[in-house]
């Protein structure tokens, strides 16, 4: 069990270092539209409600909440929010 703990700890530390050093939005993700990211990320867990159920301000909160729950990146969060606000 001690070995597994060490492996997990190394994996997490390596992962965090990787995440910090790669603080650049992937071209792949920036090429996707907000609508596409919305469809891909939200439908994975639940039905997607109509964009008009919340106001523009409320969508900022709802998507921030989902950023945390779904481990979305800021780029994904911003694009999805912009799409929902535009479609609202």
């Amino acid at each position: 069990m001690k070995l597994s703990r060490i492996i997990i700890a190394i994996a997490f530390i390596g992962y965090i270092i990787f995440s910090v050093t790669s603080c650049k939005s992937s071209e792949f993700i920036t090429s996707k539209s907000g609508a596409q990211l919305w469809g891909e990320n939200c439908v994975r867990c639940h039905n997607i409600p109509s964009p008009n159920i919340y106001s523009d301000k409320q969508w900022e909160l709802a998507v921030s909440h989902m950023r945390l729950r779904g481990n979305l990146t800021k780029v994904e969060t911003d694009k999805i929010t912009e799409f929902l606000q535009a479609a609202n």
Partner: protein, 429 residues
Amino acid sequence: MKHKYTFIIALLAVAGFVPLEVHAQDQSEVNEEIEKLKEEIKEQNKKINANKPGKSTFLLTGFSNLTYHQNLEDTDDSKFAHAGFSPITIWRPSERLMLETELHIEMEGGVHGGETGDGHDGHGGHGSENEGGHEGSTFIDLGYANMVYFLNDYMTITAGKFLTPIGNFNERFHPSWINPLPTSPLGMGHGSPLPAAELGIQIRGGLQTGISKLNYALYVSNGPVLEDGRGDPERAGSVVYSNFSDNNKNKALGGRLGWLPIHNSALEIAISGQWAKNVGDEGSAYEKVGSQLVAGDISYMINSTALKGVIRIVGQYSKLMVDDAQYKNDSTDIANGDSEFYTFDNTSTFYYGLISYRPSKSGKKFIKNLELAYRYDFGQTPSDSKWEFADARSTFGLNYWLQARSVIKLAVSIGELSNIMYLQWALGF
């Protein structure tokens, strides 16, 4: 001639001054009107500013459900078994800061493991007798209260009571309008053997790595508390995650690492675990007893035009291991010939697999609102413990979606211990 010029000058003067005087009067009225309008605008601006939202924003959302229960083997066991209301508040005072809270306000007509659709008491018998104190009464529980700081694009820090990132059901699928079945899988949900929410701090985030994505969560919490049998001999050896008083100096370390290898994020594979070196009371003989929890989870979504809809496949496997220890039999057991102390292999296993299909691309409104779901779940606690429990269930569900977040679910659960039909209306708001 002199008089003639004088007359002409006088005439011009009269002709010129009279309109000028009239014009001056008009201008004065216009100026007055402008001043009045300015005042009115000022008043209107005051009213608008009074209702103008500040930078701090707030959202009230959540979900609710009502569940009807019919025991298929006992026609008398028929009731509205559960009503729940779970408001979620989200407050964001600035772009980087957020507070999210969830309350569970529930009325239960009876305690049956895994009966509620919002992830509460999904224990499937584990601990149900002890947790049955709220039978027939209103039960209020803080689901989570999590302070959040978005540190950068890829890392978020949270502190408070947060949903434990073990497996996928607890964090992703526990709200009743998201879970396609009226019940939680065995062992999962609030108040169940597996952790639902814990007190501590956490870092988490996600990042794109080429076409795939990774996400992570790492946390430190008070960890579980060992029931060593001195308080309740019938629960000796079990660990409780919902007890928020830390019984020793040791903290639990846990986390989850997820990988989404496909370009459209349809597939996620994750491993998670929690390690607690000491779970027994400090200073007691059980102080050095530790616990390890490991889990693996998967989710896959197919959004297919050929299949005219969405198929979701999700699953989770969890294994909870508590170090062996010697627990004391009570005097009745000893009088009946049992030894004073006993031990057992303290390992519990819980898993589930679920598939659902919604023909959301069908041209017929009624058909597109239907959803079929099937889940197999299994739960087993240590066979030689006094809280031994084992069950395996197949649950078949037929849902009708009234709206994107409102669903009526009809489900039949065929288990080794009982066969139950459920009817639930779940509403997300």
